[in-house]
Symmetry: none
Subunit: 401 residues, 2 copies
């Protein structure tokens, strides 16, 4: 029996509420020249209060040393083995626009691009065309037909779109056509296994027609494909944990992932405090809230430690609104680290705090990476967090007699 089966067996429903406040890319390493991480430099009286009253520790999203993408990092946070339940970029993209994927679908991310007469990519983002243009192009491409399958193309944003191939026996072991560098031609498609040969053939037929359609739409006169991925049904939060779960997230991919796990996606404005407005308005209607803050990650990716610090401070100011709702359990952590000093995701473990009446407080009174390393939770894989949150909400029965 794996962990998820065990938890499913032990989970019971009660009215206790759990709030998961996820600051994307929260963890850091010392900012160059400052000797402290973004989190250590930030003013965080409210987070420190939760750390002082609760129990703290460090989380490994996948395993020590492994830098995760956002998909696997979130799956781990939600208790799913991120290696076993690996999820592809194409599926995340399609879920992010609310595309009703069905098991067996192969989903792919499209980037519109510019190519010259010889087919060499001169702009991998087609001058970042407007979302309106993207919408018009997606509608044209959606009309392409390939016998034996149904192909869907949907606009995402600017130069990004999603494509879904639906049909029997489709593999998804295909390489990206994106050459990653301008001045090169797109990579030809190759199949990594037998069922994927059919997918290669279908996709090549689609690309041929798409090339003709797009020829007249310079700068978006070609497209690149990334992240071929098959969609499988995931066991839902309701099935596994007996939770009525809601997601309050502002970015498509996170909404898509939450929807895939059976959470209800609550509409929310695009300002940070809007997250709290929705939490307050919907607090009586669910027993689990996934609240996602994106900009700790994007500022880290940009190497902008000062902005990351500001986002952390802005989140800290929202904490009293969460506490005022009196949830039984508040969890604050991230999905992975995104140190500004590294301008990207990293493998460093994440600080985590669990605040609950049933928590056994430790000696940690600051919510920082360094302080949480001495916390009562120790160093745990992220997949341990859901069982702990459920336990603190008294939602898990005893194992064995």
């Amino acid at each position: 029996m794996d962990q998820l089966e065990l938890i499913q067996e032990l989970a019971r429903e009660n009215s206790a509420r759990i709030v998961f406040l996820i600051m994307d890319g929260l963890g850091g390493i010392p900012v160059t020249g400052q000797g402290k991480t973004e989190l250590e430099l930030a003013l965080r009286p409210n987070l420190d209060r939760l750390a002082r009253e609760g129990v703290t520790g460090l989380l490994d999203p996948i395993a020590p040393g492994i830098t995760p993408g956002s998909g696997p990092a979130h799956l781990a946070l939600f208790g799913y083995d991120p290696v076993r339940y690996n999820i592809g970029r194409g599926v995340l993209e399609a879920l992010g626009i609310d595309f009703p994927l069905e098991p067996g679908d192969v989903a792919i991310r499209i980037n519109f691009c510019t190519v010259d007469q010889s087919g060499v990519v001169t702009d991998r983002r087609a001058g970042r065309i407007s979302s309106d243009q993207c919408q018009a192009l997606a509608e044209e491409l959606d009309r392409i037909q390939v016998p034996g399958v149904k192909i869907f193309v949907r606009a995402v944003k600017e130069h990004r779109a999603a494509m879904v191939i639906r049909g029997p026996g489709l593999g998804s072991a295909l390489n990206d056509t994106d050459p990653q560098l301008e001045g090169k031609k797109p990579h030809p498609l190759a199949a990594g296994d037998d069922p994927s040969k059919k997918t290669v053939e279908i996709t090549n037929r689609f690309l041929e027609q798409a090339g003709r359609v797009l020829a007249k739409h310079h700068p978006a006169n070609m497209l690149l494909l990334r992240g071929f991925a098959a969609f499988h049904r995931y066991p839902s939060f309701a099935e596994l944990y007996k939770l009525k779960a809601a997601a309050i997230a502002q970015y498509p991919m996170y909404k898509g992932l939450a929807r895939m796990l059976g959470m209800e996606i609550l509409p929310v404005g695009d300002k940070l405090p809007n997250l709290m407005d929705v939490l307050e308005a919907q607090f009586k209607n669910f027993t689990f809230f996934y609240v996602h803050v994106k900009k700790t990650d994007s500022s880290g990716e940009d190497g902008d430690w000062a902005r990351k610090l500001e986002v952390i401070e802005a989140v800290d100011e929202l904490i009293p609104r969460v506490v005022a709702l009196q949830p039984e359990v508040i969890v604050v952590t991230g999905d992975h680290s995104t140190p500004a000093a590294l301008k990207g995701h990293s493998w460093h473990p994440l600080p985590v705090l669990i605040w609950s009446r049933t928590a056994r407080p430790d000696e940690v009174s600051e919510f920082t990476e360094r302080a949480c390393a001495r916390g009562g939770l120790g160093r745990l894989p992220s997949t341990s967090l859901m069982p702990l949150a459920l336990a603190h909400a008294l939602k898990l029965e005893k194992f064995g007699a």
Copy 2:
């Protein structure tokens, strides 16, 4: 997918250099009457500097409570599951003398011994005969022929030699003949499984002839066999980690193990500072260096805490030479604990430090067992160390989108 497969998939080559400085048997428990471990009692300003600037923790070689031999402890350090990739004493011995083992070979350690007329062992080490005598005896025994197989006998050192049986379908589930105590006869051989019955028969024929050959060579008038082990090919550091790896080790077994994993064995003198001479001379030629210090272990085995302390202090003095080379990652740890108070290997977790520009420093400023227990790495299995070292050297791609 197991950890090694995941790492292999994510590993990429770059020019960053990793130095693994392994003090064999480093960990201790308080020296009787002193209240502190050998490491705590030692002057270690340079190790403390690395601990202060880097990140620290504790490693379990196999699992909490398990005392490892040197073979499994090293395999774990190098990232191989030490239970799955278990390695026998005979194989370690043969590799230590550079014997070109082939998959399927069964390797055995020989100890020359003294027996009386009735076959009772009176000296398990044959008065520690000279290495020259050992060489002469090995040459005589190497001429023994048993139909259907090829038998090799090679001198190791003093009373120790290695034997290899090469042939089809040989099992290696055989007991040691060494009775461990003087005043007893060697144990008869027994097979633990079907393929090993053949090995028992062949070995008995060999022993019969060996007894006749050795009869005239008192005190080395018999031999004891230990550690029957089959050789399997291991995935190499180059295959798994895309590292160009070198070993700087002064003792045969460690060289043998490193060679088995595809490391290049660099010739080195037998003084401690010679390790650094070779590291400096070869630093440009490799991306991974395994530097092995033996005497922390042998002094611990002898129960000589003062000598162990001296070895630690001598290693500490070498640290600035490592730092001056500016490797991207320095790891300092041991393979297992060898507390002088216990005069042998033990299960106690080991202090470890990772020093790197990409490390997130913790609050630990001393390289001791007690201080590292509060470190930012927490308590990890030794198998996590290679992924971490690779990550800190930016040699691992992101997992998933």
